[in-house]
Symmetry: C2
Subunit: 364 residues, 2 copies
């Protein structure tokens, strides 16, 4: 164990952060810990909690016999546009960060060299290294979490673009003048199919369902204005039975503000009709976005990761169908769409590999 080098890694998500310790040659963590991300408290609080979490991981590793001086640095993944050469997060809508010199702040606090990259680049690289992306020549990792990120891995290297921000697949327009997105634009894929958007659409659908019952089955009589996007297409909304949404509703005991995408996915799994319709719509949105990527990039693999991907086959199968129906046939046939091996652990694993690539191997 002494001859090995160990790498700390931190994946900062819009909801949770995960820290781990990896030896430099295998994509499996020795220690893994997770806590919530205190987004509302600002950059300082997020950095402090990240450092605390990494310190816990270091202590636990020492207890397990890892010599402290064999821990050589840290890789950090952050959800947003990152300039990896300067270690600056230029824009992270889901953290409300702009131009934060995150590498330097972690380096000072940890006393170790630090490498920062976009969290979705990390997740994609993590799945390419030791997950569902192994052996792929051109892979797109789609991270479906609080927001939607992405990473493009070509022959084992992240395609970064000219300023390091490539891969932001959540911010392709799929609906002109559509739902407002955290990036300031409208109609982005993220505004429809992220965990946040799934929960939001579920709340709206429950509300609409309640109005429908009150009004006796005709949602139009409830005076819903025409210019507001319905969370479900009319033909779906009108075919839902009376108890659609009741499993979902009971999960949060009527407190809809606490609804998350995980509730929707669990309710769908339990047979709730409304939740199933919302997941089916989610697959349709994702299918449209991913079909576009298949046409533009012609990859051999798309790996779905992040919390939303925990929905599993409920999401995967319809996404595959939509992509097969919408993309150019030869490109669709060449592309395997798969679930991440570890939807929530790929980011932290990839952050460790990013550190190895950039600092230990000296290139990106």
């Amino acid at each position: 164990m002494k001859s090995r080098r160990w790498i700390l890694a931190l994946d900062v998500g819009g909801t949770n952060m995960t820290a781990g310790l990896f030896h430099d040659e295998v994509g499996e963590p020795l220690v893994l810990r997770s806590r919530s991300t205190p987004v509302a408290e600002g950059v300082g609080a997020v950095v402090a909690r990240g450092v605390a979490l990494l310190d816990e991981v270091r202590k636990e590793a020492e207890g397990a016999g890892v010599p402290p001086d064999r821990i050589v640095g840290a890789g950090i993944g952050v959800p947003g546009a990152v300039d990896p050469t300067r270690g600056i997060v230029s824009r992270a809508p889901n953290l409300a960060w702009n131009d934060v010199p995150i590498r330097d702040r972690f380096q000072e606090a940890l006393g170790l060299p630090v490498v920062v990259d976009n969290d979705a680049n990390c997740a994609a690289l993590g799945e390419w290294w030791a997950g569902a992306g192994r052996g792929s020549r051109l892979m797109v990792g789609a991270t479906l979490g609080t927001g939607i990120g992405g990473g493009i891995v070509r022959e084992g290297r992240v395609l970064r673009g000219v300023t390091g921000s490539a891969g932001e697949i959540g911010h392709m327009t799929i609906q002109l003048d559509g739902r407002s997105c955290s990036c300031g634009n409208r109609g982005c894929l993220e505004a429809y199919a992220s965990g946040t958007a799934i929960a939001q659409r579920a709340r709206e659908a429950l509300e609409e369902q309640r109005i429908r019952h009150r009004e006796g089955g005709d949602p139009n009589r409830a005076g819903r204005p025409d210019d507001v996007d319905s969370p479900l297409p009319d033909h779906v909304g009108s075919t839902l039975s009376e108890d659609a949404g009741s499993i979902l509703d009971s999960m949060v005991d009527g407190r809809w503000e606490e609804l998350t995408a995980a509730h929707v996915s669990r309710a769908a799994g339990a047979g709730d009709e409304l939740a199933r319709a919302i997941m089916a719509e989610t697959a349709r949105y994702l299918g449209a976005g991913l079909a576009g990527l298949v046409n533009v990039l012609n990859p051999d693999r798309i790996v779905l990761t992040g919390g939303v991907a925990l929905a599993g086959d409920l999401l995967l199968e319809p996404v595959r169908r939509h992509v097969r129906r919408q993309a150019f046939p030869s490109a669709a046939e060449a592309c395997v769409i798969a679930l991440a091996r570890s939807p929530e652990g790929a980011g932290v694993r990839g952050a460790a590999l990013t550190f190895r690539r950039e600092v230990l191997e000296g290139h990106r």
Copy 2:
């Protein structure tokens, strides 16, 4: 002149085909000829006309002193998904071709080695070689013609994807369940912003304008069904003056079926209000699609080419504004959007370079 090698090139468009002869080291044609593409007559007729055009070019070149035995082969660009290794056009919606072994057909007819690639890959490479893409590290060429194609050029090489069909930027969804596209899908960028789509929207807008006049200013009274996409957003349609569209209308003398995107662009240049609104909408659609590409690829250059790009600043300036407003700021700032140096000659030039790269230099 004797020591030089000369390359024939043919760019097959959905409307016109252009043939040229290039010496192998400079991106300027010695001879250039253009004719219409007989799409409706099928593959055989298109190949026959392409061969005839190339033969004319050969004869003219001989007349200019090019020794026939110094013409070493031909590069051919085709609008659609091409498998360059097998020389097969797997799918070209605007030509209605499926699985056509186009390389072999041209090789037999010409008695020369032939290389086939997607026309938009050729156009992108042509502009990178000797046009608005010179010096770019990561460039997207957007070919706006009968359809919309694209080519991604990274460090001077076309990014082809795993089966050679990457770059199909016209087939990203920008409007779920939107206008029908030639690819069989709905809501693709091509269905809104190609030359075909511009002409179609112009015809619809003229029709709507006529109804509005007949009905006395309120388009809703005309009974336009709600589920049909208006060619113009309501707030634009309602502010148009009575003579909007009259310049456009007079250009084709009331025969709307003969309207092309070129008429719309010329009428807009002449001050026609309706045509200007249509071009403004076109820029908005293109802006949404290109902003998505800026976020996904983070290129340093986007070059607009093809017939629609002949609209020039009328299109370029608003497209730039939309992309700047919609894409991530750091990525938008890093990306110069420019018009092709030769909107209609880039494809044939790039087809020649493709032949040089693949046959004379032996790699792609």
